[in-house]
C-alpha cells in the first residue's frame, strides 16, 4: 500500500489541493512514512495529470459497479407452488 499516495496522505479521492498540503504536513509530523514518500505523494496529487493517473490506479466505484451488476438480479422469480409429480413413481431416471 505504500505507493498509494491517498493512503500515505490519508485523504479521500476528492481532497482539495489545500487539504493535500495540510495532510502532507500532518503526515510529516506523524512520521508514519518517510519524508521522501510523503513529498512524492503530495507532488503526485498536486499535479493534475499525475493525480488523474493515481485516481485511475487507486479509486474504484465499487458501489456503482455492484449496483449495475445487481440490476439483472433484482426481479423476483415466480414462487415454487407446483404440485408433486407422479412421473417418477414407476420409472428410473437416475443418470
Amino acid at each position: 500500500m505504500a505507493a498509494n499516495p491517498y493512503y500515505i496522505l490519508d485523504i479521500g479521492k476528492d481532497a482539495s489541493n489545500q487539504e493535500i498540503i495540510r495532510a502532507a504536513a500532518l503526515q510529516m509530523r506523524q512520521k508514519r512514512f518517510c519524508a521522501k514518500e510523503i513529498a512524492q505523494a503530495q507532488k503526485m496529487l498536486l499535479d493534475p495529470v499525475s493525480r488523474g493517473c493515481q485516481e485511475f490506479l487507486y479509486h474504484f466505484d465499487f458501489k456503482g459497479l455492484e449496483e449495475r451488476l445487481c440490476r439483472p438480479l433484482e426481479a423476483k422469480p415466480p414462487e415454487f407452488d407446483a404440485p408433486c409429480l407422479t412421473l417418477f413413481d414407476n420409472e428410473t431416471h437416475d443418470s
Partner: protein, 698 residues
C-alpha cells in the same frame, strides 16, 4: 426268565453305546424301552441327559431355519422357528430375537397396509401408516437395511405434504432412486432449500416438460436465494470475509447447475450472479491489497468498464514487483484507459487534460512491460501491447479524421461484449484511412471471427492460434478480415510445420497466394528470407516456392524460386540426383525466372567452363591437338587456355615413352608444336618442343 434278562442287558448295552457315541435321540429310545421294564433311577438319569441334549440339537436346527427364513424375508416362519427353539432351549437372547421379529412383522404389516392405501389413492392414509411404521420401527429397519421401506415412507409423506417429516426420513436414506430423489428435492424446495433441491434434481435425466418447468423455477429461486444472501451479507457493512467466501461458494454451486435449454434469461441470471459474487470478493481482496486474488477473480470478466479498469490497475500493481499477469495487463490496459474517453471530466473536467492522462497511463504501462525481466510472457505482453496501442492510435486518428466520437475497444473486449461487428463496420467505412490493404485487413482481422487467433499468432502463441482457428466454423463464406487472418495463420503455421519437418506442411499453403495478393509486404518478406538465408529444408522450400509461383507468378516469388532452384540444383547434383545436363537445364531455368540472379549466373558460367574443360581433355587425350588448339583459341575462359598448355606439356613428355619409331614420335611432336603455336606462337612450349624435335633429328 434268564432269556428275558439277557434281552434287556443287550438293549441297555446298545443304549449305552449310542449314548457314549453322542447319538442321544436313538439312545433315548433304547433307554425308554429298558426303563419300561426296569424302572431304574440310573436309567432315568440317562434319559434326562438324552432329553436335554436332544432339545439342544432341535433348538439349534430351529434357530438355523429361523435365520434362513429371515434371509428369505419370511418373517412369519422365522418367528415360528425362534418361538419353538425358545421352548426347547433356555437362551435369553431368543426372547429378544422373538420380540424384534414380532416388531418387524408388525411394521411390515403396517407397511403393507400403507402400500394398499397408496395404491387406492389415499395418500394421506398411506402417509399416516408410513409415518406410524417409520416412527415405530425406524431403528430396526435401519438395522436390517430396509431402506426401501424408509424411502417409501418419505416419498408418501412428501406426497401428503408433510415435508419436514419427509425430510427427516430422507436424511436417513442411504440409497436413492429417481422417485426418492425427486421427492427429496421437492420436499427441500417446498421448505425453501432451493439449492439443496437442485443438488438432488441435477442428476435426474428427465426431459418431461412439467419436470423441466419445476426445475427451472427451483433453479431461478436458488439463484435468487443466493443473490439475496450475498447482498444482505455485504450491505450490512459488517460482512466478514469468511461469510462472503461461504456465500461465494454457494454462488459457484449455483453457477455449476445447468439451466433448461430454452431459458436464456435464467442463464443470464446465473452468469450475472457469478459476476456479482466475484466482484464482491474482489472488493474485499482489493481492500486487503491482495491484487493477485483480484485478478484471479475478475480476469475473465468484461461486462463493465469499471471492472476492466479494476483488473488493469490490479495487474499494474502486481507488475511492480513481479513478472506475472503481464499478458493480462497488456490485454486490458488500453480498454481501461479507453474508459477515460467515456468519463471525460471525471478526473479533470477537461478533455485536453484527459488526453494527457491517457497518454501518460499508456506510457506507464509501456514502461512497466519493457522494464520486466526477459521472459516469454514479457515478449508476448509487449507484442500484444504494441498491437493494442497501434489499433488505439488508428481509431483515434479515424475519430479525428471522421469527426465521430468513437468508443474504442480492444478486439477481446469487443468479442466479449458483442461489439466486434460494430468495430468492423467502422473499419470498413473508413477503409480510405488505412495506408494499404494489409493495414486495413490486419486491423479488421483482429476484430473478425478469427481475431483472437490472430492475436495469439502475433503474440507468439502460434499453436493456440491454429487451435482456435480450427475451432471456428468456416463453412460459411468468411468475410475478408476473417479470411485474411485465417490465411496468415495457416501460412505462418505452415512455415513452422516445414521447419519442423512435418510431411504435410503443404496443406497450409493452399490459399497463401491470396494472402500475398492482399499483403505484398508479407510476400516480399518471404521472398527476402529465401534470398538471404542459408537454410535447412532447402528442397522443401523449393517445393513450396514452386507451388506458390504456380499460383502467383509474381516478381518476388520468381526471384525467390530462382535462387532456391539454383541452390537446390547443387544439392541434387551433389547427391547424384541430377546429371550435368539436367543441372545446366535447372540453372538456366533459374535464370529464366530471374536473369539478374548472380548466383545462378556464376553457377552457369562455371558449369559451362567445366563442360568445355571436359571436352578439351577428351580431345587432347585422343591426340586431336589441332581441334583442341582451336577450342582454346575460341574459349571465353582463360582457364581453358591454361589447361591446354598444361596438357600439351604433359603430352610432349609422354610422347617419348611411346613404344614407336623415332620418326613417328617426331611427327607427333611436330603436330603438337603446331597446335601450341596456333594458340600462342611465342609460348615457351613451342621452343621447348622444337628443341625436342631437333634432338630426335640429330
Amino acid at each position: 426268565m434268564a432269556r428275558k434278562k439277557n434281552k434287556i442287558d443287550t438293549l441297555l448295552k446298545r443304549a449305552e453305546k449310542l449314548f457314549n457315541a453322542g447319538n442321544y435321540i436313538e439312545a433315548e429310545e433304547k433307554f425308554l424301552k429298558a426303563q419300561r421294564q426296569l424302572n431304574s433311577p440310573k436309567i432315568e438319569e440317562k434319559l434326562a441327559v438324552c432329553r436335554r441334549e436332544t432339545n439342544i440339537l432341535r433348538g439349534k436346527e430351529l434357530i438355523a431355519k429361523g435365520e434362513q427364513s429371515i434371509q428369505e424375508n419370511d418373517l412369519s416362519l422365522a418367528l415360528d422357528c425362534f418361538k419353538q427353539a425358545a421352548a426347547l432351549v433356555n437362551e435369553p437372547w431368543l426372547t429378544e430375537k422373538i420380540l424384534e421379529l414380532e416388531t418387524l412383522n408388525t411394521g411390515r404389516r403396517i407397511y403393507d397396509e400403507a402400500r394398499s392405501a397408496a395404491a387406492s389413492g389415499d395418500m394421506a392414509a398411506a402417509a399416516t401408516l408410513y409415518e406410524k411404521a417409520a416412527a415405530g420401527h425406524l431403528d430396526l429397519w435401519e438395522t436390517h437395511k430396509d431402506h426401501d421401506a424408509l424411502k417409501k415412507a418419505a416419498v408418501y409423506l412428501t406426497k401428503a405434504g408433510d415435508f419436514p417429516k419427509a425430510l427427516d426420513l430422507f436424511d436417513r436414506v442411504g440409497d436413492f432412486d429417481a422417485q426418492a430423489r425427486y421427492h427429496f428435492g421437492f420436499a427441500l424446495a417446498k421448505t425453501g432449500d432451493y439449492l439443496g433441491a437442485m443438488a438432488q434434481w441435477q442428476s435426474l435425466d428427465c426431459r418431461d416438460t412439467a419436470f423441466l418447468e419445476q426445475r427451472g423455477t427451483v433453479l431461478a429461486n436458488a439463484v435468487d436465494q443466493v443473490y439475496r444472501e450475498l447482498k444482505a451479507g455485504t450491505s450490512t457493512g459488517s460482512a466478514h470475509e469468511s461469510d462472503i467466501q461461504e456465500k461465494y461458494k454457494k454462488a459457484e454451486q449455483v453457477s455449476a447447475l445447468i439451466p433448461p435449454d430454452d431459458s436464456r434469461e435464467l442463464k443470464e441470471r446465473i452468469e450475472a450472479l457469478l459476476v456479482y459474487a466475484n466482484v464482491i470478493s474482489a472488493r474485499m481482496k482489493w481492500e486487503a491489497a491482495d491484487y493477485e486474488a483480484v485478478v484471479r477473480l475478475v480476469e475473465n470478466l468484461w461486462v463493465d468498464p469499471e471492472l476492466i479498469r479494476l483488473k488493469a490497475a490490479a495487474c499494474y500493481h502486481i507488475s511492480k514487483d513481479r513478472n506475472t499477469y503481464l499478458d493480462v495487463l497488456s490485454e486490458c490496459w488500453m480498454d481501461a484507459v479507453g474508459t477515460l474517453d467515456g468519463l471525460t471530466g471525471r478526473y479533470l473536467g477537461n478533455e485536453e487534460k484527459t488526453t494527457e492522462v491517457r497518454d501518460r497511463l499508456i506510457r506507464m504501462a509501456h514502461m512497466r512491460i519493457n522494464r520486466a525481466s526477459a521472459s516469454g510472457e514479457k515478449e508476448s505482453a509487449k507484442a500484444g501491447f504494441d498491437i493494442q496501442t497501434r489499433i488505439s492510435d488508428d481509431f483515434r486518428a479515424i475519430s479525428q479524421h471522421s469527426g465521430l466520437k468513437l468508443a474504442v475497444c480492444s478486439p477481446r473486449y469487443a468479442a466479449m461484449t458483442g461489439r466486434s461487428e460494430l468495430m468492423l463496420a467502422v473499419i470498413r467505412s473508413n477503409k480510405a484511412y488505412f495506408k494499404n490493404d494489409q493495414h486495413y485487413l490486419e486491423t479488421g482481422g483482429y476484430y473478425s471471427r478469427a481475431g483472437l487467433s490472430l492475436l495469439a499468432l502475433k503474440t507468439g502463441d502460434i499453436e493456440s492460434a491454429v487451435k482456435s482457428l480450427d475451432s471456428l466454423d468456416m463453412d460459411e463464406t468468411p468475410d475478408e478480415f476473417t479470411q485474411y487472418a485465417g490465411e496468415l495463420i495457416r501460412f505462418e503455421y505452415g512455415l513452422k510445420a516445414l521447419e519442423s519437418g512435418q510431411k504435410n506442411f503443404m496443406d497450409y499453403f493452399s490459399s497463401t497466394h491470396l494472402l500475398f495478393k492482399a499483403a505484398p509486404a508479407i510476400e516480399a518478406r518471404f521472398s527476402d528470407r529465401m534470398l538471404q538465408d542459408e537454410r535447412d529444408h532447402l528442397l522443401a522450400y523449393e517445393t513450396l516456392t514452386a507451388f506458390l509461383y504456380s499460383k502467383r507468378p509474381s516478381r518476388p516469388i520468381a526471384r525467390a524460386l530462382s535462387v532456391l532452384l539454383a541452390k537446390a540444383g547443387i544439392v541434387k547434383y551433389n547427391d547424384d540426383k541430377l546429371t550435368d545436363k539436367q543441372f545446366r537445364v535447372t540453372v538456366k531455368k533459374a535464370l529464366e525466372l530471374d536473369p539478374d540472379n548472380q548466383f545462378a549466373l556464376q553457377l552457369l558460367d562455371s558449369t559451362n567452363m567445366e563442360a568445355e574443360m571436359d571436352v578439351l581433355l577428351k580431345i587432347m587425350g585422343r591426340g586431336k591437338f589441332e581441334k583442341a588448339a582451336q577450342m582454346a583459341v575460341d574459349s571465353d575462359y582463360p582457364e581453358i587456355r591454361e589447361s591446354f598448355f598444361e596438357m600439351a606439356e604433359k603430352i610432349s613428355g609422354m610422347i617419348h615413352d611411346q613404344d614407336v619409331s623415332p620418326e613417328l614420335i617426331k611427327l607427333e611432336l611436330i603436330k603438337l608444336k603446331d597446335a601450341v603455336a596456333v594458340v600462342d606462337r611465342r609460348h615457351d612450349l613451342v621452343k621447348q618442343i622444337q628443341r625436342e624435335i631437333k634432338t630426335i633429328g640429330a
